[in-house]
Point group: C2
Chain length 344, copies 2
Amino acid sequence: MAPSLEAEPESVASVLANPQKPQLVAPEPEHCPGPESQQAGTADSCAGCPNQAICATAPKGPDPDIPLITARLSGVKHKILILSGKGGVGKSTFTSLLAHAFATNAEQTVGVMDTDICGPSIPKMLGVEGETIHVSSTGWSPAWAMDNLAVMSIQFMLPNRDDAIIWRGPKKNGLIKQFLKDVEWGDLDFLLVDTPPGTSDEHLSVNTYLKKSGIDGAVMVTTPQEVSLLDVRKEIDFCRKAGIKVLGLVENMSGFVCPKCTHESEIFKATTGGGRKLAEEMGIAFLGSVPLDPRIGMACDYGESFFDSFPDSPACRALKGVVKGLATEMGLDPEVVMPEEDDA
Amino acid sequence: MAPSLEAEPESVASVLANPQKPQLVAPEPEHCPGPESQQAGTADSCAGCPNQAICATAPKGPDPDIPLITARLSGVKHKILILSGKGGVGKSTFTSLLAHAFATNAEQTVGVMDTDICGPSIPKMLGVEGETIHVSSTGWSPAWAMDNLAVMSIQFMLPNRDDAIIWRGPKKNGLIKQFLKDVEWGDLDFLLVDTPPGTSDEHLSVNTYLKKSGIDGAVMVTTPQEVSLLDVRKEIDFCRKAGIKVLGLVENMSGFVCPKCTHESEIFKATTGGGRKLAEEMGIAFLGSVPLDPRIGMACDYGESFFDSFPDSPACRALKGVVKGLATEMGLDPEVVMPEEDDA
């Protein structure tokens, strides 16, 4: 028999439903009250079970921190996750561009939470790499990239910029919880949650902790390549299983226009139809294609706003279309979310 | 006081030394025998400690599976990790190119182990996406991409290609252990271990499980951008702390030559000196720069060997230089590792 994951059809649902399930040393016995139940470790059937001590000491019932998180985030109007599946498709870049776009309206306040613990890029991209966190009796203060743009990342807590953060899952989950529970986010119009690649600890934790306070949905970022689309399909599957609405798909690095001869090359070729076809197949909104523009990467390396630096570039126009499409998907007025300079 | 990670200076070393340390519910008391010691949970000082039950039931001493892994891999001459820090810089692409390069010598046998559990790309890139795993009494058979190129990935175990693999750390670690312990790798000249981005569960596990059988070293992959170099520095820090030799650094996607006018553009601009400067700074070997060639991505999407398809392209010549440099760093004869067609 081939070792197939089909043997455990319940595992995904059970992981999502019971994020706190303790790690057992033996299979659950027939009359097990459930390792996460109130009777775990103390029921009659627990006597003699090798898991008894583990179950008895494991945390019971709903996480007591979740109401605290919900209270802390009560002033946050919209919560958006940025997901991709594959790494390096421009997730953090898109998150920082989206933050700058929302922040162009001075009456909106935007927060960015970087849940990529082992490879935080957001502080660099938003130009707040040198910041540290200040703590008062009411909580941790985020760093402010602009008057109306708050940022929180593990990068602010590192003694040395180049230190590796060698953390297994539980420590990462603990920090993400602190970012939600202890940071003084205050009144925000948008909280953007940038995630690392994959569908693992960070994604499960963000979903668990934010479920009660409500997630507006997730934006998927991909490149046109099949290897990236492959992982986006997995990420959409994750969202469906976790009950997170997919707000739409953005195709990044769609084509490169030679600055000398204006010939457009498909650097990451869409051998299987690219993002637009995938969005159609999966029944989600296609928010647009953003061409590959080296100046986006440069703006990120320097921590500047690409919107301010190159407002007339094709990439900037494409990004504005994506932001407006996203606002529409969220039921917001695109002209309020990102007012055009010309209209002002 | 700002919450700094400096408060726990021992954590990295302790994580690396005690991969099995149980998760405690309270701080270790003054006379704690150590939660991973043989006396854990049973010493006099354990009486009344809230961790007692957890420590008593946690696994003790060295992992009994490590000698099994060492025995299973006794026929593997060289073990190479491919690391990057950031995602999407071409780690899996480079791994598959390296595998094809080593496999050009028909007398060498190469194995590729994909430890990216949540976003496996290797099967697609090596053209074995549709394979499943066969199990016999002696172990799991890897998939064979060529007569002398074996592959193992979680992708082979999925009932549906697009299923999300929503696993927290411990389950990922368990599968990586099985890939090393249960797969019939047989006699290999090279085992290439492709890793996901970051410095977390997968990296710690691979290091722990392979330590005894010996890792030749790690190849770092980066793009010229500062946001990627930032994460590579963290990954080099990880290797130093974990005692893994860094064999060298490859700069990927270094420049793009317009197919129409041959003008070269720096798509991912090296605003801070790129890979070469980083390698100098960190005192590691710089193996070379590989230009961005859309045909590499296409070859990967189709699961073909880029070396066979476009042997005369600049990217192919650059890659050959990288492979030869790597062979030299490993103390091998470059002409044996990858014989040139012309010389044959």
